[in-house]
Each structure stands twice: as C-alpha cells, then as structure tokens.
C-alpha cells in the first residue's frame, strides 16, 4: 500500500451477502418461531426445516462474506480509515453485548434483592407472604420456590472454580498470542493461540459436565424457579458466547497457519481477542454474582 499525500476515500463495492444474510435471519426467525410453537404443542412441523435452512443460509453468508473481506483486505484494498471503522464497530458491538447481559444480570439482582424478599414478606408485603404464599421463606439460592418446586444449589468450589481459573488463564494466553503477533514472533503467536483454543474447549467441556451434574445430581433445571432460570440463562448465554469465541479463535488459528496478518494489519485477530476478553470479564461477573454470592 503506497503512502500517498492526497488521500481518496474507499467505498466497498456492492455485494450480494447482506441480502443473503437478511434472508437467512428471516428464515431463522420464522423457523425458530414455528419450531418453538410446534414444540409447545407437541407436534412435528416444518418449523425446524425452515430454521435449519436459515442456519445454512447464514453459514454460507458468513463464509462468502468473510472470504470476500479477507481477499479484499489481503490485496491491500482497505484504507487505514476503514480499519478504524472496523475497530470502532467491534467496540460498539461488544458494548451492545454487555447491555444484553445487563438485562439478565438486572433480572438476577431484581429477583434476589426485591422479588424474592417481597414474596417473603419484607418491606410492606407481610400480607403477600401471609395470605398468598404462606410459609414461604426468602432464601438465596432459592431452593424452594413459593410454588413448592425444590432443587439443589450449585456451589462455587469445584468445577466453577476450575472454569474460572481456566478462562482467566486463557485471557492471558490470548494476550500473549496478540503480543507475539504485534512483535512479528509467529511461533509465539501460534503456540499461545493454540493453547487459548484448548483452554476454551476445556471450559466448554467442563461447563457441559456441570450442567449434567446440575440436572442429574442436584435436580437444578431450567424450570426450577428463578434461581435455576437466572443460573441457566446467564451461564447458557455466556456458554454460547464462549462457543462463538472459540470458533472465532479457531478461524484465526487457521488464518495464522496460512500466514495471514501482519504486525500492522490484523483487525480480525484483534476483534477476536477483544471478544475473548469480553467473555472472560462476563464470566468473572457470573462467577461472583451467580456462584459465590
């Protein structure tokens, strides 16, 4: 990319992928809606097929769109300004993800501090407890709901603690890989990135094992009251984000093996790294508020 004094703007050429992505999302929304409706009515419908078709369309879109982006980027078509736009766009995207988790953390805090306490008769709700839910005791974790559903509670020692250590470690290894990339040390980059991926996979495996333990041994399920609800929704959405982050890391690993990225130009890697640190921070909040406290 030759440095020029008089700059010109770069506008990407038109592309079919956005409309393909819109069709894919449309199919997913329509298919997922019908799948859920079919499931609740215990009927077999065509919803699942539409959903799968949508997922396939989105996967094709992702591969095609990213292939075009990578080719354009590798041929030096992109300006520094576009790189800055990408970075800012990624930062704002992560901010939106934080707000998505904030909704569920908000639900957790509201349930713990207000909803369960009020049902137990605190503040001016003595009659709520006395008349509507007699005998209900406000405890957290809520192992016995006002409606009488019983479940166990997940402790923080053991699997959750290991997972915390694993994910925090992976944030460091991811950073070491990034430093390696910036200093042009490809071997450091490859090794640390590989370790990060392995740690991510171990985390996901242990998270799965924890769910099995919760369902089979503790009787803690998605529908066992507000404790189980917030536990599974928060850890579940976090797990989905770790899955996505791991896939992104694997793609980065393959691109590194193909010799992509330079110390100056590696937006995709940087975005993946930010995303990984973000899921790590979310986990730390989860560990504190869902498991320990």
């Amino acid at each position: 990319m030759a440095e020029q004094k008089h700059e010109k703007y770069y506008v990407p050429a038109s592309s079919p992928w956005p409309i393909v992505g819109a069709i894919g999302l449309g199919l997913i929304a329509f298919g997922a809606g019908h799948t859920v409706i079919d499931m609740s009515n215990d009927t077999d419908g065509w919803g699942v097929n539409v959903l799968l078709a949508g997922i396939i369309v989105i996967l094709v879109m992702l591969v095609g769109w990213f292939r075009d982006q990578i080719n354009e980027s590798m041929s030096g078509l992109y300006s520094k300004q576009l790189g800055a736009s990408y970075r800012q766009g990624m930062a704002w995207f992560i901010f939106s993800e934080i707000m998505f988790f904030a909704a569920f953390f908000g639900a957790l805090f509201y349930a713990r501090v207000i909803a369960v306490e009020w049902l137990g008769g605190s503040s001016n709700n003595a009659m709520t407890n006395e008349v509507l839910w007699p005998g209900f005791e406000a405890i957290w974790p809520l192992t016995l709901t006002p409606g009488g559903t019983e479940s166990g509670a997940m402790g923080w020692l053991g699997l959750p603690l290991y997972n915390t250590l694993i994910l925090i470690t992976s944030s460091f290894t991811c950073h070491f890989a990034h430093v390696g990339l910036e200093k042009g040390k490809r071997k450091q980059l490859t090794v640390w990135l590989g370790i990060t991926i392995v740690l991510g996979l171990i985390f996901l495996y242990l998270q799965g094992a924890e769910y099995v333990h919760a369902y089979q041994d503790l009787g803690l399920t998605l529908d066992s009251g507000i404790y189980g609800n917030t536990f599974y929704m928060l850890t579940g959405f976090h797990g989905m984000h770790v899955t996505l982050g791991t896939i992104m890391l694997i793609v980065m690993f393959l691109r590194v093996l193909k010799g992509h990225f330079t110390p100056e130009s590696h937006f995709a890697f940087q975005a993946t790294s930010w995303y990984w640190h973000f899921v790590d921070v979310v986990w730390v909040c989860l560990f504190i508020f869902v498991y320990i406290l």
Partner: protein, 536 residues
Amino acid sequence: MSTVVGEMDQHDDHHHHAPSGLTRWLFTTNHKDIGSMYLWFSFIMFLVGGSMAMVIRAELFQPGLQLVDPHFFNQMTTVHGLIMVFGAVMPAFTGLANWMIPMMIGAPDMALPRMNNWSFWILPFAFAILLASLFMEGGGPAFGWTFYAPLSTTYSSDSTALFVFSVHIMGISSIMGAINVIVTIMNMRAPGMTYMKMPLFVWSWFITAFLLIAVMPVLAGAVTMVLTDKYFGTSFFDAAGGGDPVMFQHIFWFFGHPEVYIMILPSFGIVSAIIPAFARKPLFGYASMVYATAAIAGLSFLVWAHHMFTTGMPVFAELFFMYCTMLISVPTGVKVFNWVATMWRGSITFETPMLFALAFVILFTIGGFSGLMLAITPVDFQYHDTYFVVAHFHYVLVSGAIFSIMAAAYYWLPKWTGHMYDEGLAKLHFWASLISVNVLFFPMHFAGLAGMPRRIPDYSLQFADINQIVSIGGFAFGLSQLIFLWVVIKCVKGGEKAPAKPWEGADGLEWTVPSPAPYHTFDTPPKGFDKPPEVK
C-alpha cells in the same frame, strides 16, 4: 483522519452514475439508495400501521361492539403500536440518517456500507413475520406494544414466538444501523470538522445511536425472557417461581424510556436545521443544544419507572422517578427556548418545511406539558392507562416525531430528487394534517381525564360525542397523508429544477453539492470548517 488507498480504482465506485436493475437495490452499498429504501419502507409501514388505527377509530366511532371482536381489536392496538414505533418512525429516522449524515459531514458514504444494506434488508422480513402472525390460529400479538407479562406469557396466543423472534431481528437491524451511524460520525468527518462544528442533526443522531446500542439489547433480553417463560417453563415473571411480573415492567421500560427519546432526539436535530434556515438567523445557543440533547439522553436512563407509578413501588422510588422525570423538562425547555429565540426578530418565511417545524415546536411542547402532568405521581394515579396518556404520546410522536419527519422530507426533497415539490399541494397537506391531528388527539385529553380507559373496544355512553369527533379527526388525518404521497411521487417524477441550494437561509455541506445529489458525494474530503452550519 488520514486515508490512504493506492491507485486501485478497479471497481466502478468512483463513477458518478448509478447501477441499474433490481440488483442495484438488493446488493447496494450506497448510502443514498439505502436511505431511500428506508424512507419508502417506513412510509409503507406508516400506511399499514395507519390503517390499523383506522380500524381502531372505526370501532370506537360508536359505543358498543360493532365492527371487530375485542380480541381482534387488541391485536390492532398492539400491532399498530409495534409497526409505528419499529416500522415507521425508527426506519424513517434511520433513512434520514443514511441520506444526510454522510453528506453533512463530508464523507463519501457510511462507514460500513455493506452492513448498512444488511440492516435495511432485515426489516422487510421482520415485519412480514410480525404481520403473518396475525393470520395464525389464535391470532397475533394482542397484549399491547408493551407486551406486559403475564398478558404476553400466560395469556398470549400461540403465535407469540413469532412476535419474539421478529423483535429479535428488528433489534439486530437497529443495533447494526446504530453502530454504523455512530462509527460514521466518529470516524468519517471531513478534516477540520470537530465535534462542536457538526450540524445538530448529526449530533442528535450521534446521541440517538448511543441510546439504541445501549437499550435494544435490553429489549432482546426482555423478549427472550417472555419466550422462555411462555414456552420453556421459566418463571422470571411468575411469583410462584420466585419471579415478579413487575420485574417485566422494569426491564421493559429500562428499554422503553430511552426508546421514546430515540424517536424524538433526531426530530430536535431536524428542527434545529430548519428553523435557522427559514428565520434567516443563526441558531440561538448551538452548544446548549448539544448539551441539552446529551442531558436528555443521560436522564432517559433514570426515569423508566414513571411508566409504572400504579404498579407498586416503594414511595422513595416513586419520588426518585418523579423528580428525575420532571428534571428532563429543564434541558427540553432549553431547546424550545432556543428555537423560539432563533426566530425572534428573524426574517421568517413560511415554506412547508418551516410550517411543519413551527407546528412541531408548538405541538411537541403541548405533548411535553402533558408529559409533565403525567410525571407527577399522585395525579398519575388518575391519568394512568386512560386516553390522557394516549393523547400525550400521540402529541409527542405524531405531531412531534412524524411532523418533524415531514418537515425533513420537504426540506431535503429538492436535494434528493433534483426537483422542487408542489408548494401548493404541500401546504394543503400541512394544513389538513395540522387541523386533523388536533381534532384527532386534543379531545382525547378530555376523554382521558373523564376516565375513559385505553385499549378497550367499548366505552360508556358519556364518551360517545368525544369519540365521534376523535374518529372523524382520525380519518381526516389518515386521508391527509395520501396528499403527502402524491406530493412525493409528483416531485420524484418531475417539477421545477431545484438549484444546489433551494433555501436562501440554509447552510451546510449538503447544499454545496448539486441537486439531485450525485450518486457518490465526496471522493475527497471537503475542507474549511470554522463554525457549525446552523451558526454561520
């Protein structure tokens, strides 16, 4: 802001003509094409949502049940609200942002043009799904656009999952659109255009985009919890499982209140551009306009529970939310004061954009005052869930947001089409809209204060006269909008050639390029900014 691209103009982007055929619209990366699609889409949705309002007003023309059954009536109020909020007002503003922001800041296009196209094309699918759910067994969403639990969980129809997923993809679209706007503004301003030299429309969208990114994910969380509560046995909003239906309202309105400012802040930007242009005077208090907009946005996160004064909260919380809400009238008052002060001793002419902007200032202020009345907790106990609330938010959203969108359309139509619109017809549209909108919404205040509840297909006999007047106003307002469609089509097809700057007092980069604006506006960044355009 250094931009470096080698001499590779391998693609045809630097030619100043548009590609043709269907793929131009499907594959486009052009902010003007995408802006036009947003604007047309929002107008179609405006008519669809409007026809639902006509069904509502026809049913309410007389007491008793005559045209539709109550369940269908509920679907109409629900989908009317959803379509007008997410399908008409928000896409219209996004369309204006797409068209105008790159031109106003001297950029060649939006920062992320392909994602821009993706955000637009999600919308037709999202609304097709929402509308399709109306035809399913058991009907579509009938729980109000606010989808309070347990109406949307325990008591909702089977099709609720479709509502949930269509809101999900609408949210994805809005978030991507907002990221695009905010990155464009942060990164694509022409050299020398510092933040405090940006046009106020850009400023207001900058803040709006921040609000969108902050709260649309919360809406996604809320609909997700509704989905799992209804279909997967969770009890977020069910006391038997330790949850609370009131929690739904907290989460929803944490999204919902910033959302209503998302639908009004860009209006402030539009009006702040139009009033100085037609008063031929610099805008009074540019900096205070910026700070007021930011203050309104900041406060919007601290007032959500004023929508729920009657649902049960500790007194301390009621007072906190009451005072925070009343505080918003301070920055809003600053803005209204500044608009009036701008016109003070100006050489005002009354072309259609100015007429709509003036009507905006007056009618939005009426809506603001009724909002202040609603903010007062003890009296809200009387107003809550009555037609007074309906009157309030329609003054803010129809004679506020929609009027500002009309003003913007008339103001920039010559730039978009290259032709002047028919001023006579446009004035007819304005006066017809102005009179009918007040016949439509003003009497609702009285019906509400007298106790007529909202979202009910029937009412006591004493409300009959008022409802008849309101319905007549409603039909008249609906028909008046067809004049607008006529004016726009006529203007697209032909008319007097528009000069680069058709308005004598207008200022800003968009008026430095020819009309119609060339397919690609700025190849190289324009230079020389010493003041914001409104202040010149």
